[in-house]
């Protein structure tokens, strides 16, 4: 008997940490109790991307989308929806500004505006079941590639599709593969490596793809291997991704069992296998040469890439390194054709891109949109606008070393060139939205701090230069900056970008440079001793005005007893004792505490 309903329980890391597995078990127990377990199947899926509202539960074929479902909701849900057929409104998602909850997933703007290519199986399959992947057309592209196409044709197809590296650099994938094929290898050995060392804070598209659809990566890798003639592949996964690692291992075993990996793939005589290498979590190991050094068992430090890794890479063999999302795109291109893929996106940036939407937006999560979508659409339509009805100030794209883009660039179409020209980058697809409560100098300092601690420290400009930038930014935040500091910063940025050994140092000045370029006024304000966003503690003062009712809350909240005043009387702050923690500001219900 077929199942009449499928309950798709999201088991991405976000939802799992919101206890979706407990929810699944409760559901399953409830179904069994009611004798519905033969009619209704529970499927654990990968990440749906809308991690902010997890745990997510999708009921198919009705298409009803439930959010924030708790174990205690299970009896009600089963009784109402599954038995009586009445979807439960209280568990549905209500978009911002909307009055009524939206029952169907496709009607929710967050999902509606997305175009799923790399994430095509998101939420629809159980990532631990290869059968689910095959059912949705998985490995068809591999079959097609292996039987009807020559390696050269595949490379031509990828070139024609305009697919570019999704890991940050945006190098055309087809050309990379072609270069590798032409590179000289004494014994003919070539390697294919998948970079799953996703280090950008807040970015988790690669993790999500591996967790939700590991076979799409495997399929892409096998096709790539066939194209370049590699027989051994590696995937470099961060050790901080245990779930991704587990699911990928399961997927590898299944693919080997089905003859889709290993010796004589699909009976075509082509051999290729993948070895999993666990990275220890260094940000710099996402850099290709550092990553390869790490796989080889050496210290994960970059080396100069004057001779590219495509020619002399892993174990000194020609090596293709692509990231997870790039590989996930490959089967679709092979299956649906380069033409179709190239029809999506802009002139030089084809296809879709997965972004992780974070920061001060209402809907945070993972979204896949066509290239060329404007930042505004991304932030306001999909992201639902600024959280807590704040005012947009800046958006940072491309991870910690991406630049900050101001409001007047919101209509910038998202593609590799446009972002670069604006002083930022596509990066791996992180999008961090900042509102009026963010101080751009402070934010720049924050990211520079991250980069200085993640620098491997090998070359002088990256190690000493970023540290110097951090020192100057800190000085400015502390209100001790001078006009000369800005010039020094600019000079530093330029030399660090010019002379750093690898892209980490090369792109590290971006946050500083763009904040100087678009938000110079904030720097100048700091030089005058003011932090417009009221963030930099050295530059703000908390005061209590006459709106104070003497409720005494701030008195209780102050950790240093800097608030003076008897209950029912007006309070005041002793500035000498105040550590500017903002506790009084947060607890005050009468807007009596001010920040300036």
């Amino acid at each position: 008997m077929p199942y009449r309903l499928h309950m798709m329980v999201c088991a991405g890391t976000g939802c799992v940490s919101n206890r979706s597995l407990e929810l699944r078990d409760a559901l399953s127990a409830e179904l069994a109790r009611r004798g519905l377990d033969k009619e209704i199947e529970i499927v654990t899926t990968g990440c749906n991307g809308f991690c902010g509202v997890g745990p997510i539960l999708l009921v198919q074929p009705d298409g009803i989308f439930y959010q924030k479902v708790q174990v205690k909701d299970v009896p009600l849900l089963v009784e109402e929806h599954l038995v009586k057929g009445r979807p439960v409104k209280s568990l549905m998602f209500t978009p911002p500004e909307a009055k009524e909850p939206v029952p169907r997933m496709r009607d929710i703007p967050f999902f509606g505006k997305q175009m799923l290519v790399a994430l095509r199986n998101r939420g629809m399959i159980d990532p631990e079941k290869i059968e689910d992947y095959i059912a949705r057309g998985g490995y068809q592209a591999l079959a097609k590639a292996l039987t009807t196409m020559t390696p050269k044709q595949i490379i031509e197809e990828i070139k024609a599709s305009g697919l570019r590296g999704r890991g940050g650099g945006g190098f055309p994938t087809g050309i990379k593969w072609e270069t590798c094929v032409h590179a000289h290898s004494e014994d003919g050995v070539r390697y294919l490596v998948c970079n799953a060392d996703e280090g950008d804070p807040g970015a988790f598209m690669d993790r999500s793809i591996i967790e939700g659809d590991p076979h799409s990566v495997i399929e892409g890798m096998v096709i790539g291997a066939y194209a370049i003639g590699a027989h051994q592949g590696y995937i470099y996964v961060r050790h901080e991704y245990p779930l991704a690692l587990k699911r990928f291992m399961i997927a590898l075993d299944q693919a080997r069992e089905y003859g889709l990996l290993g010796k004589d793939i699909l009976g075509t005589g082509f051999d290729f296998d993948i070895e999993v290498h666990r990275g220890a979590g260094a940000f710099v190991c996402g850099e290709s040469t550092a990553l390869m050094a790490s796989i080889e068992g050496r210290v994960g430090e970059p080396r100069a890439k004057y001779i590219h890794t495509v020619e002399v890479g892993l174990y000194n063999k020609p090596t293709v390194l692509n990231n997870v999302e790039t590989f996930a795109n490959v089967p679709v291109i092979i299956e649906r054709g380069a033409k179709w893929f190239a029809s999506i996106g802009t002139e030089h940036s084809k296809g879709t891109k997965v972004f992780s939407l974070a920061g001060r937006v209402k809907n945070t999560g993972l979204v896949e949109v066509p290239m060329g979508l404007s930042l505004r659409e991304l932030i306001f339509d999909i992201g639902g606008g600024i959280a807590d009805n704040g005012k947009f100030k800046a958006v940072q794209t491309g991870g910690p070393s991406g630049g900050f883009l101001p409001e007047d660039l919101l209509d910038l179409p998202v593609d590799y060139e446009k972002l670069y020209e604006a002083g930022s980058m596509m990066g791996s697809g992180g999008v961090v939205v900042m509102d009026h409560t963010s101080c751009m100098v402070d934010v720049a300092r924050f990211f520079v701090d991250f980069l200085q601690s993640e620098s491997c420290g090998k070359c002088t400009p990256c190690r000493e230069g970023i540290k110097a930038m951090h020192g100057i930014l800190s000085r400015i935040c502390d209100g001790k900056g001078s006009e000369a500091d800005l010039a020094t910063l600019e000079e530093l940025c330029s030399v660090v970008a010019d002379t750093s050994l690898c892209a980490l140092g090369g792109s590290a000045p971006n946050p500083v440079l763009t904040s100087l370029r678009y938000f110079r006024s904030e720097y100048e304000a700091h030089l005058q001793g003011k932090c417009p966003a009221g963030v930099c503690r050295a530059l703000i003062t908390f005061r209590i005005n006459d709106k104070c009712t003497g409720c005494h809350l701030c008195f209780k909240a102050c950790p240093t007893s800097a608030v003076l005043g008897e209950p029912k009387q007006m309070h005041s702050i002793i500035q000498g004792k105040c550590i500017k923690c903002g506790a009084c500001y947060d607890v005050c219900k009468f807007e009596a505490v001010t920040k300036e």
Binding site: R4, E39, Q60, D62, L82, A135, G138, A143, L266, G267
Partner: protein, 127 residues
């Protein structure tokens, strides 16, 4: 599991896809079996089982089967509502295992309302 060949992969895909078609949410129509206390007492569970078995036998994968509560006419249970896209829903009454199969075949699959079991066309307003 023996290793797959190309043709086996295709076959496997077709088989697996069919089994999971419901998940895709593309349906030619929906049938709701009313399963309130009264309905179940009158045999709605049997009717549902018969329907699902018939669908399985005939490999019907694109019909949404849902259940709902009491339709309010407890004396006419078991009842079912069939809804095809862009058409008014049709309510059937006093069903049994044979009748539901006919409804499946004639109404859901061929689009002809089985008039002799039908109560009425249309539905009370929701909300």
């Amino acid at each position: 599991m023996a290793k797959l060949t190309i043709s086996e992969l295709q076959k496997l895909r077709e088989k697996l896809a069919q089994e999971r078609q419901t998940r895709e949410g593309n349906a030619r129509g929906q049938i709701i079996i009313h399963m309130g206390t009264c309905g179940i007492a009158a045999g709605a569970r049997k009717v549902l089982t018969a329907l699902l078995e018939a669908m399985d036998k005939q490999n019907v994968r694109d019909v949404i089967v849902s259940t709902s509560g009491c339709a309010g006419m407890c004396s006419k249970e078991p009842m079912a509502t069939v809804q095809l896209p862009q058409q008014a829903p049709v309510k059937y009454i006093s069903l049994n295992e044979e009748k539901i199969v006919r409804i499946l075949n004639e109404h859901l699959l061929q689009g002809n309302v089985v008039k002799e079991f039908a109560l009425a066309v249309g539905s009370e307003r929701m909300g």
